[in-house]
């Protein structure tokens, strides 16, 4: 609680600075109402922005876009939760103004090298959600997790699961594994985690899709997976924290790099972010991060923007929205309410500078 209050105050300062900069660069705008524009530099943004991509941060983005509509009433932003794969492809085809993605851009995804910049926004846990009324507090080690998702373990009363849960009475039921049917950044981060932490127990590699074992069920986007788990006794799957919480799923505590079993919470996610190192392109990897309290399956999410926007209206709107998204206290409060961890200050500053570097016109 204390921490978030601190960040909030720190952030307001950053926001002011960034806005001052943004105000200077958009000199083409005539100043209509001095009182209004001084208080609210976003009011002058106009037009429509179409964006698509990751479903992982969707709950946050939608709530934030709704709140931003109050600040910039003449700007209409649409974010379609399509999955990272489609987001990257549509951005690459020039159909959208920006894209949400949880995974980095690979060759063949769509966008050409040099035609995009990463803006990290928030991070969140990927929960291992399950439906097993007999076991309210499941604990899983990375190796057991890898075996469950590669179907080497197919029963809930398997010795590996029993070893992780010495106190639980495990039912003699089949495990139903649920994964994504669409290309997904959540899948990408989850499988990356399994590669990093699962060792020789995970042999399926990582990617927006992998070749899942044949008898795994699939759902459309995070919410589709959540629905299947909700309806299926004995099911287990990976769902983003916001959707898992909102749909009332139960999630497992996962053994982190320090050997502790940690339940996904906002605090555990923030703890994982503290240990992450930032790459030059502003991508970072909080998966399996060190720290006694870090939740190990913590995934970043990015917004892809173009280095240059030809249309000044679109460019100003993208920059304005993202600046607000990263720095405004309202946006940050929304992120926390929806269960997303906001960036530590060091990363946020660089992200804001990245937005500032986008040229318009």
């Amino acid at each position: 609680m204390n921490r978030s209050v601190l960040t909030r105050t720190a952030v307001i300062g950053v926001a002011m600075a960034a806005l001052a900069l943004a105000g200077c660069s958009s000199s083409s705008d005539p100043e209509p109402d001095p009182s209004g524009s001084a208080a609210n530099p976003y009011a002058s943004l106009t037009g429509t922005l179409d964006a698509s991509g990751a479903s992982f941060p969707n709950n946050y983005y939608q709530a934030a876009i709704e709140a931003f509509a109050e600040v910039a009433p003449d700007l209409e932003i649409t974010y379609r939760s399509t999955g990272s794969g489609t987001g990257k492809r549509e951005f690459g085809e020039g159909l959208t103004a920006f894209a949400g993605t949880d995974s980095t851009v690979k060759e063949g995804d769509g966008p050409q090298e040099g035609s995009y910049l990463y803006v990290p926004t928030v991070a969140a846990s990927i929960t291992i959600s399950y439906n097993l009324s007999e076991v309210p507090d499941l604990q899983l080690s990375p190796s057991t997790l890898a075996k469950i998702f590669s179907r080497t373990i197919t029963r809930w009363d398997a010795p590996e699961i029993a070893a992780d849960n010495p106190d639980a009475t495990l039912p003699a039921k089949d495990i139903v594994v649920v994964r994504r049917s669409d290309g997904s950044g959540t899948t990408n981060n989850f499988t990356k985690y399994l590669v990093a932490a699962g060792g020789s127990d995970w042999t399926l590699g990582s990617g927006d899709t992998v070749e899942w074992p044949a008898d795994t069920q699939a759902g459309d986007r995070n919410t589709g997976v959540a629905q299947i788990i909700q309806q299926t006794d004995g099911a287990i799957g990976y769902v983003d924290f916001a959707d898992a919480t909102a749909s009332g799923l139960t999630f497992a505590a996962i053994q982190n790099a320090d050997g502790n079993y940690v339940v996904p919470t906002l605090e555990a996610t923030t703890a994982a972010l503290a240990g992450a190192t930032l790459n030059d392109d502003l991508t970072y990897n909080p998966l399996n991060a060190p720290g006694a309290d870090s939740y190990p399956i913590t995934a970043p999410t990015y917004i892809l923007v173009r280095p240059t926007y030809d249309d000044p209206e679109v460019g100003a709107a993208v920059k304005g929205f993202l600046t607000w998204l990263l720095s405004d206290p309202v946006s940050i409060e929304i992120a926390h309410d929806e269960g997303y961890a906001t960036l530590p200050d060091s990363i946020r500053q660089k992200a804001l500078a990245q937005i500032e570097s986008v040229t318009v016109g």
Partner: protein, 311 residues
């Protein structure tokens, strides 16, 4: 002038069909080439991506699991729907009191009018959870029996071949019923009266006079229902579980050709992913055309025979 206008409209049908074939085959070609025709049809691995690390070194497009799922769900649907449809058709032609006939026909027509997505919604939110309990009971009962045990294997939740088959069965009942009813109505009254006059019971009359006469027509109706069942997309996509699986277990989840297309259209993976999805469409198109053609053939043969009989 007017004549040519009408001819053009008629030719439009031929043009659209030809264009469908040209456009879809052309788009599907890169993916089919990627695997080879045989590989595309008989591969059972579908990975529209090149994952990092171990695993397949390239995207793989094998349609077999989806072909299997399409055939299995539509067979389940037909096996359930045919006896019910024949029963309703018999009810309408032989048993129903005159004043019941109209309302029953209306009800069956209404069944046909309910959009498939509404059946899908009901199936996944209401029927599926009920069926899951039934599957568990059935598996508990038959799980140990040799062959039945693997057909009614361990349930994997409400989403299964069986759920999809049942919901499609409900959707094709009106089609099979209406054609079967028409076929039964062509049975010469003289035959039926003759059978009854010889002292046959209703059942014996139906077995001896109605069934032999209308066998071909009923087979045609069934094939038409089968064609329709294979193309059903949305209700199946919601209820089958989207697993790329070939299994004898009807309580397991799988996928069908059209369902796979609609699930992944928004995100077909790296090229030639979209091409591969269109390839699934081509396979579906060809299968349904063959089934429908055979159906029409059987029906028209039967029609000729029936006309001969009634003349």
């Amino acid at each position: 002038m007017f004549r040519w206008l009408t001819l053009a409209a008629g030719l439009l049908v031929l043009a659209v069909l030809a264009l469908i074939l040209v456009f879809t085959v052309k788009e599907a070609w890169p993916a089919i080439q990627h695997e080879g025709v045989w590989g595309f049809l008989t591969g059972d691995r579908w990975v529209p991506n090149d994952p990092d690390g171990p695993g397949p070194a390239r995207p793989m497009y094998g349609a077999l699991a989806f072909i299997y799922g399409t055939v299995v769900t539509s067979l389940i649907a037909v096996i359930i729907a045919v006896p019910i449809s024949v029963g309703i058709a018999l009810f309408l032609t032989e048993f129903a009191p005159r004043r019941l006939r109209g309302p029953v026909i209306t009800v069956i027509d209404l069944l046909a009018a309910v959009p498939s997505v509404v059946f899908g919604l009901w199936a996944i939110l209401v029927l599926g959870p009920w069926l899951f309990d039934a599957y568990q009971a059935t598996h508990g009962l038959l799980g140990a029996v040799p062959v039945l045990g693997s057909i009614f294997g361990p349930p994997q939740g409400p989403r299964a071949f069986m759920t999809a088959g049942i919901i499609v069965a409900i959707m094709i009942i009106p089609i099979i019923t209406s054609i079967t009813r028409e076929v039964f109505a062509t049975v010469p009254n003289a035959d039926k009266q003759a059978a009854l006059a010889l002292g046959a019971t209703r059942w014996e009359m139906i077995r001896g006079a109605v069934f032999p006469h209308s066998f071909g027509g009923v087979v045609g109706a069934v094939m038409l229902g089968l064609g329709r069942a294979m193309g059903e997309t949305i209700a199946v996509s919601l209820t089958i579980g989207a697993a790329t699986q070939i299994t004898a277990n009807l309580f397991g989840s799988g996928n069908t050709l059209p369902a796979r297309i609609v699930q992944n259209w928004g995100d077909p993976g790296i090229p030639p992913g979209r091409s591969a999805l269109v390839g699934l469409g081509v396979v579906l198109f060809l299968i349904t055309i063959i089934v429908n053609y055979l159906a029409r053939l059987v029906v028209s043969r039967a029609e000729i025979r029936m006309k001969g009989a009634s003349a």
